[in-house]
Symmetry: C3
Amino acid sequence: MSQLLPTPIPLPLIANAIAAMRARAPLVHCLTNEVVQDITANVLLAAGASPAMVVSRQEAKDFAAIADALLINVGTLIPKRAHAMRDAVQSANRAGKPWVLDPVAVGALAYRTQFCRDLLNERPAAIRGNASEILALAGNASLGRGVDSGDTAEHALHVAKTLAQQVGSIVCVTGPTDYITDGNTLWTVPFGSAMMTRVTGVGCALSALVAAFLSLNTIPPMDAAASACAMMALAGQHAASQTQKLNAGIGTFRVQLIDALDLIHSDTIKAWSHE
Amino acid sequence: MSQLLPTPIPLPLIANAIAAMRARAPLVHCLTNEVVQDITANVLLAAGASPAMVVSRQEAKDFAAIADALLINVGTLIPKRAHAMRDAVQSANRAGKPWVLDPVAVGALAYRTQFCRDLLNERPAAIRGNASEILALAGNASLGRGVDSGDTAEHALHVAKTLAQQVGSIVCVTGPTDYITDGNTLWTVPFGSAMMTRVTGVGCALSALVAAFLSLNTIPPMDAAASACAMMALAGQHAASQTQKLNAGIGTFRVQLIDALDLIHSDTIKAWSHE
Amino acid sequence: MSQLLPTPIPLPLIANAIAAMRARAPLVHCLTNEVVQDITANVLLAAGASPAMVVSRQEAKDFAAIADALLINVGTLIPKRAHAMRDAVQSANRAGKPWVLDPVAVGALAYRTQFCRDLLNERPAAIRGNASEILALAGNASLGRGVDSGDTAEHALHVAKTLAQQVGSIVCVTGPTDYITDGNTLWTVPFGSAMMTRVTGVGCALSALVAAFLSLNTIPPMDAAASACAMMALAGQHAASQTQKLNAGIGTFRVQLIDALDLIHSDTIKAWSHE
């Protein structure tokens, strides 16, 4: 298999995608875990999208066809919710709406691992996880334990490329540097802050943001997915810089992160990318 | 049907109701959606009420008789929760405790729409929703999609009046201006900020606050419901003003909103109403 | 029964335990209520531990053996979750991992009261509650109503000591002063702020922090449990002091509390203990 050349996503491309996403304000149907619903909704709202959590089997199927994109996150998977997720995914596929898989803590836990692998047959538009989750989803040994990655993103790159080709999805491996690949090309997002791993749900919310960007018809999917990762990473980098200036802690960082997602635009992107 | 004269609720009436609510610190039993439980509880606590989420069918019925008021919010309705809600509503009615219906996203989704319409037979003390939700609940066509209103509050006014008369409830249609009617009189709340629509759960939490105010025996129900709306709208208006002064974003706004609900009192109301 | 001499936990002991907890970064499996999952996860992260909410019966059992400690909180107990909790507790016990019981609102509500009393047979490493909850769990009359205590911690002390001896657990009765006893010795934590009762989930998150500290092999369990209470109380005291300096409200306090949990260390503890 040929080597993919990692290329940092250009700043103007990010700015353009953010503007397009805000102009569209996509409605993102989130079937996500119990812990992160508040931050997921608030991240989408701050970024300019519109969240909706419609969770029952009675309604999730109908709503997946109405919404612009669908997120499936298995962090607190239970059987009833798994049924609703399967229905919603099939409904989104029939309606031509993209859906994103976030395989939280896949690997150590058999029930969700099997569920996620089965869902790969429904071909997610994108998969977003940390290195351990991507390795485990693809059937490789991983060092994950709970939601933290025990593997480096670089170690997962080869597996991510193969997974992307086999499933026909974009795979986003997030970490200190994010890698986004469809198996043929490879964008990197060299921004972010370790503080992002110390607020619950930042990764989960990013997956919802990837779904929002993938609903745009005017932006190529690889650019859309990478721009979502870059929007979050640049906001996180700026929020960390602001937090340090204030000698503050991780509570302030969370507020600054939501502020930054609200305030990021073409003029601030360049400055924030150097912080 | 005669025209209702919209009258802005007087500031001293709001201040009086807030003081009465804080003196009573009502215990509000919230059967609400998965997304907004944190902000709903924190809004009630900041305002001076006491939240409690008791959700199982085994317990919700008993607790509805113990608490001072009950909130029913169908944002993430599932069948088991629907059973608990029905039991709780009947228990609250038997115990003479007011209950409030928040018909989140009613209209597009058949399951929750039928559930809410059925619950109208149990006569909520108040119904709080955006224009699209109120129109849809009353059986009219609406432009809602998810939780956002596609209709103006003004457009829903006539329907709200009729709904209030038919059900025997107070109907609160919230938007840039809030309208509160029992079918005979009409209070308006001409405060607020568009930022309130960019934090998840502000409307849902307001419905819980309406329940808290309606538990007061010393305040007429129309004044109580309108004062709850005014408390939230004034806090939102002030929080938006503070956020703009700080050149900050929607993360800061959420913190300022909770602060404002904590700090609002008779002296600040007048100043904040002009911001 | 002899009188226990209440002894304030020494500051160096707290500092030492905090450093040990951060060095270990224990993974805490939280089976907690719907309302407080966000703040529980963020408190653990800010303090230096790692949260994971794995909730299904299919997975909770396996995960309880993987994690370093387990939290059981019955705030929004439903039958399916109760099954998962029982499985997880037994799995933690078999694996030699400590588990903590938070008997939220036990007393008024029969279903959860019976569930918690049954769970005492599985011998939690610690029980953390307010005075009314501890009194009710032990079978005494209490004045609790919802999540607020109607009794003073001092009134519950004798009962807490007996409960600790009978169950073989550490009992933490939290309030303006916290009391931590194993039936033989009695630590007190004379720090904190009334503001901590005005943010939802601070007590629930503290129970998770107690679990994190109890997973340390190098710290005696009584010191570990008391240090968790002291870490939260000192952070709360400092956050309240900061909030007052800013003339801010309870929204700001929540941010400052998470910041303080992040920033507390051996140098700040002494200063904060005098605020």
